[in-house]
Symmetry: C2
Subunit: 190 residues, 2 copies
């Protein structure tokens, strides 16, 4: 993808994380990205196009930072990989905070803006399948529907904890501890 | 509390559920409630006062509809009471849908509006304590910190499932099944 396009998507994520989806105006986005509004329309057609592509950008970025391996991590331990993939969504770095704020805001705004719903449901399915696949490797004696249900619970819990953290109701370390407890509970049963 | 005041809070909840916290303007609220803006300022002082009182109103209303006993329910079964208290937040009635939409929106907007945070953290603590107390009665051999952590997970999961349901990513019956599974997992372990 072109550098310009990526730069606009990065700027859209910043604007959404700072002011919300409803604060995103094309003129402001152009100023933030340092480009003309016509270049934005050229790449994304309209506001809906910007939102769809930004959702994808945020989702890809989360894929990247949750897949980073810690130095010295064992080469193939599915349980460790699962914990890492979920816990790296609860990190106090500027990138994760911005990404999680924008993701939560896209989710919350889809309650009011139906046009984002299908894209969001698809991104959620992809995420749930990735987690279910890791659960299957960490706990091969379980059934596929049980892994899928566990993955839906763990990702929905993570979203719930994340918005509590970002809105100041829950300290980060405590949120991480609660998520670890949930992973143990999901892996602990038949 | 005065009927007028309640009527304004009911109208504020409707406006938030329809257009979001950021769509709430005092003039629009006055029109929705059928009162003058000066009466709103008389009762609530300012927009922050409206939001604080509406948060309390929404929280009290959820207390009421989650405490309704089904006819023929056993008189004191803490596990059934716990399931009911959580599952009644996932009901397809106009009142629950409106209340949950407004609650999720207040939570999401607190990421952007810090002034709601303390009120929201307090309402969350109250809710977590109620659930922890029921967990303690349903599972008296567990420890208080374990019950508190389970209550934090169950309520955060419920918020996560609720916004997925309201934003069209998750069918209601499926969300209820996932929540029942989480209750079983939390009660199932030491």
């Amino acid at each position: 993808m072109s550098d310009r396009r990526t730069e606009i998507l990065r700027a859209a994520t910043r604007v959404i994380a700072r002011r919300g989806v409803r604060g995103l105006r094309v003129g402001e986005l152009a100023a933030e990205a340092g480009v003309s509004t016509s270049l934005i329309y050229y790449h994304f057609t309209d506001r809906a196009g910007i939102l769809h592509q930004t959702l994808q950008f945020i989702s890809d970025r989360a894929d990247r930072y949750t897949a980073e391996r810690e130095p010295g991590a064992p080469p193939d331990d599915p349980r460790a990989e699962l914990e890492q993939m979920l816990l790296l969504e609860l990190q106090d770095t500027a990138e994760v905070r911005e990404n999680s704020t924008a993701w939560g805001e896209l989710r919350a705004s889809a309650v009011f803006e139906p046009e984002l719903r299908e894209e969001l449901a698809m991104a959620t399915h992809t995420w749930v399948h990735e987690i279910a696949e890791l659960l299957g490797r960490a706990h091969p004696m379980g059934t596929a529907p049980a892994h899928a249900a566990s993955a839906e619970r763990l990702t929905a819990l993570l979203e719930g904890l994340s918005v509590r953290w970002l809105s100041g109701s829950l300290p980060l370390e405590h949120a991480r501890g609660l998520l670890k407890g949930a992973i143990a509970a999901e892996l602990g049963r038949g």
